[in-house]
Amino acid sequence: MGDTRWRQMDALFDALLELPEEEREAALDRGCKDDPELRRAVERLMAAEAEAGTFLATPAVPRAAIPSSLRHAVGPADDLVGTRVGPYRLVRFLGDGGMGTVYLSQREDDYRQEVAIKLVRQSAIRPEARRRLRTERQALARLAHPNIARLYDGGSTPEGVPYLVMERVDGLPIDRFCDGHRLGLRKRLGLVLQVLDAVAHAHRHLRVHCDIKPSNILVTGEGVPKLLDFGIAKLLDPVEGSDLAVTATGLRPLTPAYASPEQIEGSPITAASDLYSVGVLLYELLCGRPPYDVDDASGPAMGRAILETEPVPPSRRVSRRGRRWWRRPAKPQEGAPPTDSPKAPEVPSPESRRGLTPRLLRSRLRGDLDAIVLKAIRKEPGQRYPTAEAFATDIERHLQARPVGARQGTWRYRAARLLRRAVLPPEPRRRRERWAWAGGLVLVTGLASIALSVDRPSNPCPIPGNEIESIWNDSSRETVREVFLATGLPFAADTFDRASAAIDRYVRGWNATDLEICEATLVRGELSTRELYLGRLCLDGRREELRTLVDLFGHPDAHVVTDAVGAVNRLEEVASCADRGALAAGRLPPEDPEGRPRLPPANATDEVRRLRIHVTQSVGRSGPESTPRQERWIAESLRDALVRRLIGRHPDRACQLVTEASSRLDPGLALHRALLREIDDGWGAGEGQGASPACPLALRTTRSRGSSSWSRSRPPRSP
């Protein structure tokens, strides 16, 4: 029945109930003129009202017995081969993990379609978490990325065993793949870059992996890494919410060796934890050993090491023992004492697996890669790379022999970098002239830095634009134009032109500042690499603000269009990212000089953006808990609130809206919790202590956030 119809019926029913018996007939006649159907419905309601008797009269009460019989264990692995699960048949046992058993399976109606089905161990999931399993599964199924094994489907068997249907990946764990193929460092880094790309994609969709480790990254025969079980660890997390705890609850992270300090401590897990795990993985892939030498890698000693021990740079973990063996690789010495590297001939050393000598491996790792890895596995989440993209960018910079952000700048470092750039050009065709130039450089060693700044054969600062072009380009411009026009507002076209021009100006300013910072560092030597890094961080923040705004422009309503030009003009000024004073003082350049309404700092902006995406995704999802109407209402209120917040005019009103919207959400719904968390994270960071008391969410979160976000005034610690 349509909603209008329902309201019509309900209103008439209501009116009739208020009338004395003898007046009802007349009212019915008046109310249902020419509408016999409405009349029939309301008459039925009137009759049913009397007939309903004691229906619902007594409030419901359950017996308190909690069914304890829900814990069917998954049977022994082989027992289940041949069993039907949904439309699939389990064909072969593939493996057994912490969370369940995985089977190769085929669709019954199409044998060619092979999938992996994971039967979730009952002890891995609490009964209450099942509802969450269902809603989360749908969200996870939307993660589509070439390096993420797809989650297709899921459900429960008639026995109540939850299962997940996933893309079947035929491959080797990344560490075994690398060693088995004797991949060199560049190829290893290439694989990690792909992993980071997948992680970045998932983080953009608000999914955290929580259990990144070699066995969860399979590399296919074609050399494509695929991340398995994205988000599953968190989903099956035995502690409600997002915490894994060691001592407090007796529960342990699934894989301590790759767990971040905050995971060990049982603090909330964020994207930073995933980046930490990738850092540990990179550490091992580079030098062949884990960051911490602990006998029992799954015991409490490992937890302590992760929390307390400072990791040594990977280059220092390259063994010295293997050296002699490497120099005589072909034949182990006859008659040599058995104590002299007895296993060497059979077990290839980590160096040889990378096609290198220990000395060479050490020197390759020393410097950039040491710095990158150590930055990735800092104990404090705020000191790590802020995003997977930033992590990847640093690796790419290293591969292109450009200065990496993780490394503190020194004269020697810059000079060495530039020399290497000259000696190892990316494009072979320019090799000769670079060699010639390098030769010249050697002649003027003493004046190297001057020579570098004046007579560079190529600008070490790339032509900027790529990063920001991913946000504002012809295609996004066209999208925004179309949706602005589609609002049908009379001034939409004009506003678009002006907003678009303002964004163009902003982008030009961004590029110019990017170039300026780079040249000031690498060409003129006026800024240290650390200052370059800070400036870049600042620019990253500005860029993300622009991204938020352009995203917002992609889904505009009247508010957005009306204030579009103003919103662009209120973006934080870009040129301030090159502010020498702030950079030299180790601060991020100042924001908000006049205290005008502004976007939250970079971190929070990112959160708000994620929230917005999240809300957008939630529109149209109709779970059993809430009606599509409610969902739409919530999503619209939140979006409205965000618009107001971002445009900066009515932060208080926006805050109220969000509070109100979130209170209407079903409290048990995962979406509700997720939204609250997202709002907390995003807005808490954006609100100052002076936030309006009408905004308890923001107040609360400002207090509870403390040091969890990277501070605006604290520079990243150099390695």
Binding site: E49, F55, P59, A64, G668, L697
Partner: protein, 187 residues
């Protein structure tokens, strides 16, 4: 109470304790009342129900309640969820022919229609549909049937008059009754 909730949401842990105590007392009364009203209600354990309810409330992380409305709304919703979960579980076990029979017989008398028991799951689904048409009616039902609040209490919560609550309850109950009988009104 309202003040306590406000202080709680502003981050005062002591206020939280006080809120829980007050809420607990209240919910406990509700559960006792329900227990007495229940058909074969000698084995009911309202305290256990409450524990479970409060546990869920806390897990839901809904700490930003600014008034009692939210609190009771959440309490009622939680009760509803618990009951529906139980009902669903019971049904599943019966269907699966499992040896374990859990003797939950949720408010069978009050839900019975034409002599045959109606299930909570169906009521839940009907409530979801009602929410789509008239959220407040659904909330009235929820507060009354799943949290055991009286008309006055509900009116207080929803900031409306007792008369309005009464009228909405009558309409909602009738509509749900027809829904559970499987009757679709034309239109």
């Amino acid at each position: 109470m309202t003040d306590l909730l406000r202080r709680w949401s502003a981050g005062e842990p002591q206020a939280f304790e006080a809120v829980m105590e007050t809420a607990y007392g209240h919910l406990h009364r509700i559960a006792r009342r329900q227990a007495w009203g229940e058909r074969r209600g000698h084995t009911l354990q309202p305290t256990a129900v409450l524990h479970e309810a409060l546990l869920r409330l806390m897990q839901a992380e809904v700490l930003a309640w600014s008034d009692r409305t939210h609190f009771y709304a959440v309490a009622a919703r939680t009760m509803r969820r618990i009951l529906v979960d139980y009902a669903r579980e019971q049904k599943r076990l019966k269907r699966g022919g499992d040896a374990v029979r859990i003797p939950i017989d949720v408010a069978a008398a009050t839900l019975a229609i034409d002599g045959r028991p109606a299930d909570l799951e169906a009521l839940d689904a009907a409530l979801v549909r009602l929410e789509g048409h008239h959220p407040r009616q659904a909330q009235v039902v929820e507060l009354r049937f799943f949290a055991g609040l009286t008309g006055e209490e509900i009116a207080d919560c929803l900031a409306t008059s007792t008369a309005t609550v009464q009228r909405e309850w009558r309409r909602a109950r009738t509509w749900l009754y027809l829904e559970l009988r499987g009757e679709r009104l034309g239109g």
